[in-house]
Subunit: 258 residues, 2 copies
């Protein structure tokens, strides 16, 4: 069963399209919304992440640890985290936005699989989506390709022109024609951009960041419906009651995604 | 002393512009050019990397561990590796090609610094070079931004059109105007592209991959001269005698870079 099939099964069983982003910011990175520190980053990050999985596991279809936030973890700690995610009946997506040449992408997929992840995110910037997807498929991993990100500056490259076309449309078409798992489309993107992407992607999954802290709208969710994997990070994990907040987001998303 | 100043000092002292890429491919990734395995990836990767640093440290100005290959290492192992790199009088550059939104880039820089790296690589794809450079500067890290990569498909996005201009030129100009440490320009790029980039970058460092296994030419090296940080990975680390091979590359590069 590939990532898409697994996601749909879990979505229907849990009634959830919520993806909880595991972004355990550490003291020193910013003033608030940081995890408690005992001075041992590996232990602090792992125990925070395991606690989030325990509290939100019934409401989350997917967990998405971001590589930049969990960088201190070694292979064993990543395996422990992913075992907990799977024990909660959820999928694990490594947000690594890999952006490298072919051999290196194979290395990324190898270790992501060994660590127990079910999918990764990747960047189309090196121009090699086809070989990246081959590397993912070879390791039995799903792949979500950056298409139009949620940050305000995302248009510079994602709306650049490739031939006569806007870049995000070329990316979306590649995702479709190669049969890649899904696209990353921010909840903050303009309606006309979201519609143009939806026209190119009639059946892929769409990972949607930007709900909550980034103030995204619900246009993308309405357009892609039950194919959305909707990520919320700090809106859940730094709440006083992550479990209740995850349930609230699960229910809100279920209402918006037709 | 920032990364550029440190590099120039080491370059002059060691007579070397060689960067040894630490890409410890593991059995299962490919058929040959893999490291020995005892079944404990963390130990295998760390001991291979430490051995390379010991054998090539006198000839290498910089070491460039690639995040995708060293993913199994935890914070302590990265710290041990970087301590060895610094003890050899070299700089350490984390090839992570970070490609994320602002808060996440801050997390990347925080952990890269904690792990002992001196610089990172980053992708301009999210359109936020300025804030990425701010995050690097805030953590006292150098930054090399992907400008025109060494893989054959790199042109799709790096030669897309932004307004009336080719993307790599916009990237190069941003690197210059922001005062970013350097650009990544593959040794495999066409002469006219290399010249166009050189015209925009009169003083930045240039990280040049693609020598050796990827069969790059020497045009880029001749154009950027003593500002080149020339990466060789498998051509050194999987040689029977990495120390002698590193010295040979160091001397070859010194001849080509005027």
């Amino acid at each position: 069963m590939d990532f898409s099939q697994s996601f749909k099964k879990i979505r229907d069983r849990k009634g959830s399209q919520l993806c909880v982003g595991i972004d355990p910011a550490y003291p020193g990175m910013r003033d608030r919304n940081v995890i408690p520190s005992t001075g041992s980053p590996v232990d602090d990050i792992l125990s925070f992440a395991l606690d989030i999985v325990e509290q939100t596991g019934t409401a989350a279809a997917v967990f998405k640890p971001n590589m930049q936030y969990i960088m201190p973890l070694g292979l064993e700690e990543m395996q422990e985290l992913n075992a907990a995610i799977h024990a909660a009946g959820s999928l694990s997506l490594l947000d690594v936005k890999v952006s490298d040449i072919g051999e290196t992408n194979i290395a990324c997929c190898h270790w992501a699989k060994e660590a127990g992840f079910d999918a990764i995110t990747g960047s189309p910037f090196p121009g090699n989506i086809a070989s990246l997807w081959e590397a993912c498929s070879g390791a039995d991993l799903g792949l979500f390709v950056l298409c139009l990100m949620s940050n305000p500056e995302a248009g510079t490259f994602m709306k650049s022109r490739i031939g006569d076309e806007v870049a995000y449309r070329v990316i979306a078409r590649d995702i479709r024609s190669l049969g890649v798992t899904g696209a990353v489309v921010g909840a903050t993107v303009a309606s006309e951009d979201a519609r143009a992407i939806a026209a190119e992607l009639p059946s892929s999954l769409v990972l949607v960041p930007g709900i909550g802290a980034q103030q995204g709208t619900t246009d993308v969710l309405a357009l892609f419906g039950d194919r959305c994997v909707v990520n919320v990070s700090r809106g859940v994990i730094f709440d006083e009651n992550p479990g209740a907040k995850a349930e609230a987001y699960r229910d809100l998303i279920a209402k918006i995604c037709p």
